[in-house]
């Protein structure tokens, strides 16, 4: 059985404005240790999909199974536990606690998981060994994003979900961040899923999923991923 499996996943948003089907019959399977890129135009449903995978929202129908755990059937409290131990999330806008240092921001995540990694050494791994005691406001955007990646990695989760992690960063910094995420999937043998608008990134992925209008357009495996440094856009 695949590490992550989605079966006929649908997501419908209901609001005063009416019901809106953001995802329709999504099916795919991913393996552990893969670096996966999700591509699609704005409004396609990428964030919606990532939120379902990360246990931040529940599917309207269908099943999501991660490493044997049926996420789509979890209740609120179980979902919280799932996020606590199994998911690492990286946002476009970092979402760090402003009044905590880099190290404390990572500790905030690790303090509540069982098999967490050492915050200081993870921060050193992402190149912030010298900045452990700096507050977010004292760090650049790229550095803040690295703190948020360190926070996700240090939890030692089963999957790492990144929603446009380089959206707010410049070209070089963006590339560095992607390298960091790619290495995480390989060195730590984690399933890393990155959502992006950037078509060029499909070349670096092990697997590419493209979505359009809430439907999977195609899923394919990249036989020979190209290192990020060699990709230009």
């Amino acid at each position: 059985m695949a590490f992550l499996k989605l079966e006929n996943v649908c997501k419908e948003y209901k609001s005063e404005a009416g019901a809106f089907k953001a995802l329709t019959d999504v099916n795919f399977e991913l393996e552990n240790g893969e670096f996966v890129v999700i591509l699609g135009p704005s409004g396609a449903g990428k964030t919606t999909l990532l939120n379902l995978l990360g246990g931040m929202d529940s599917a309207t129908s269908g099943d999501i199974i991660l490493d044997g755990l049926i996420i789509s059937q979890l209740h609120k409290k179980e979902l919280t536990n799932y996020r606590r131990t199994d998911v690492g999330f990286v946002f476009q806008f970092y979402n760090l606690m402003p009044n905590m240092t880099a190290k404390e921001n990572v500790e905030l995540a690790t303090e509540i998981c069982k098999d967490a990694l050492d915050p200081a050494s993870v921060l050193t791994d992402v190149g912030l060994g010298e900045r452990l005691h700096n507050f977010p406001a004292q760090l650049s955007g790229g550095e803040q994003q690295r703190v948020s990646i360190a926070r996700a990695i240090a939890k030692n989760p089963k999957i790492l979900l990144c929603d446009e992690p380089t959206g707010a960063l410049d070209y070089i910094t963006g590339k560095n961040i992607l390298r960091l995420l790619y290495d995480t999937s390989k060195k730590n043998n984690k399933l890393v899923i990155v959502v992006t608008h950037n078509q060029a990134l499909k070349d670096m992925a092990d697997r590419v999923i493209s979505i359009k209008n809430g439907k999977i357009e195609k899923v394919y495996v990249n036989k020979k991923p190209i290192p990020i440094e060699e990709i230009e856009w």
Partner: protein
Amino acid sequence: MKASFISTLRLFKKHIARLITIIAIVIVSIGFMSGVGEVQPTIKKTINKHYKTYNVSDLYLKSKKPTGFSTEEIANIETMFGSENIIKTFCYEVEDDGKITRIYNYNLTAQKINKLEILEGRLPENANEVLVERATDLYEGAKVGDVISVKNPVGGTISCTVTGIVQNPLLMHRAEETSFINQDKNVSQVIYVSTDLPLIVNDVYVVFENRTLFDSFSDRYEERVEQAKQLVVTKLGDDNVSALSLFENFGLYSLNSYAEKIGMISIIFVVFFLLITLLVVYSTMSRLLDEERNQIACQKTLGYSSSKITGKYTFFVFVATLGGGLLAFGVGQLLTKMIYGAMCAHYDMPDYASSLNFGYYLFTFGIIMLATCLLTFATGMKIADKKPVTLLLPKTAKVGKKVLMERIPVLWNRLSFRYKSTFRNVFLFKSRFFMTVVSIIGSSVLLLAGMGLFDCAVGYKDAVSIVAIAMVIIVFSAALSALVIYNITNINVSERNREIATLMVLGYHEKEVTGYIFREVYIMAFIGALLGLPLGYVFLDFVFELINFGSIAQMNWWTWVLNPIITMFFTFLATLLLKNKIVKIDMNASLKSIE
């Protein structure tokens, strides 16, 4: 036009909880200030009205001789005050079966001074008809038509029919009237017999020509009374006459002095309430403006002028204070009436005068509205005049600053980082910390003062009026305290929306998330509750001194324990009410944008 209307509507909708809290705080505050403030003017007016309506005598001259005043003495008094300004009465008491009855003999039909209020029946028409003082806890009274036997001072009785039940304007106070024939006993019945010219005149009541001088025991009136007393004693001799004035009338004068005490208490509390209200409303608005920095930046980039942007927020506080102020009117009126009613239990006061006073209401309402609108506008302009780039950055405490505790590694390193963050949040935002703690201190000091006054007042038999006012202070400052704490907690939750969402994404459970936010509130409430005690001590000492009533020593020790417990209880209540607000936060929506 339409767009700005919609955006104003959104602002109200988004911050509806804060709008309602400000309205509630203003209702409590102005309601209290006008309600309590108007008690003294109302009582003073009542006393004046009473004095004028019943033509209450200013002097009461009592002959010290059993035979009463001589014809010469009477003539003397008449030249001093004018014959039309006095009434001559014969007053005596008899003891029967251990009961003291006081009997007044004078011309009841003329009734020009100390007019008796006829509660029931009519005036007597012949010598065998009498009036009886109304029944109270102390006077036994009678019924119209009853036949009672009245003893003569020289012996013998006559049967008289009661034709009316009356109230003597000099007997305002519902307390014992000591008998003058037997100091150990109280008068238990008062009877009025109509006589055209009493044979003996031992009591003479005098009114001053100038009726406006009184003005509920004004200083000029006091001078006039002293002068008149002096005159009487010099002319008639100290051995022959004692001259009493309304200053010796326990009912009227003590009512007046209670009114004055209430007046002083209310001024102190009005000032205090006003300051706290201004602080709370202003800090609420300034924190709201900080929260709206992104919105303000956004509108600026769209080309809106600073004053137009700020106008929207000023309008918000205008509506809140206007709404609260208008609703407070009824609360204030009701409160004055209630306190007045409580005093009626002790004094025979005229019906609550419909001559309403609005001074305190208009004054406090005006100040609160004007000051908060101006302050909000000024603060808003300061923010809106900044560059949009600056506004888009979140407002953080000075980068890299450390709280005092961080310099004590032994303590600091032992704290879990969650507590570290809490302490930083609490102590690094200085003005926020200051405003929060001061408003908590303020409301708990008020509550303590109310409790202290109450403790002292219940010890006194005649302090009904102060018990009433203390209870009002307790209720209103408790309400203020609860609202202030709720408001602070609510603001804290709303400011931390994003952090709460981040914690939720990281897999923090509800309890852990609420704990993270509420710990700060608890710490600030705790600091405020504790500091409230010494400051409350100083404040109460000052209040007791000023009103010359009560003392710290008379207070119950447990008041000092109960007070901070109440503050913490309100904090607990606020967190309980706001727990759902945290739990309901949509983490996806909160983390979507920079906003």
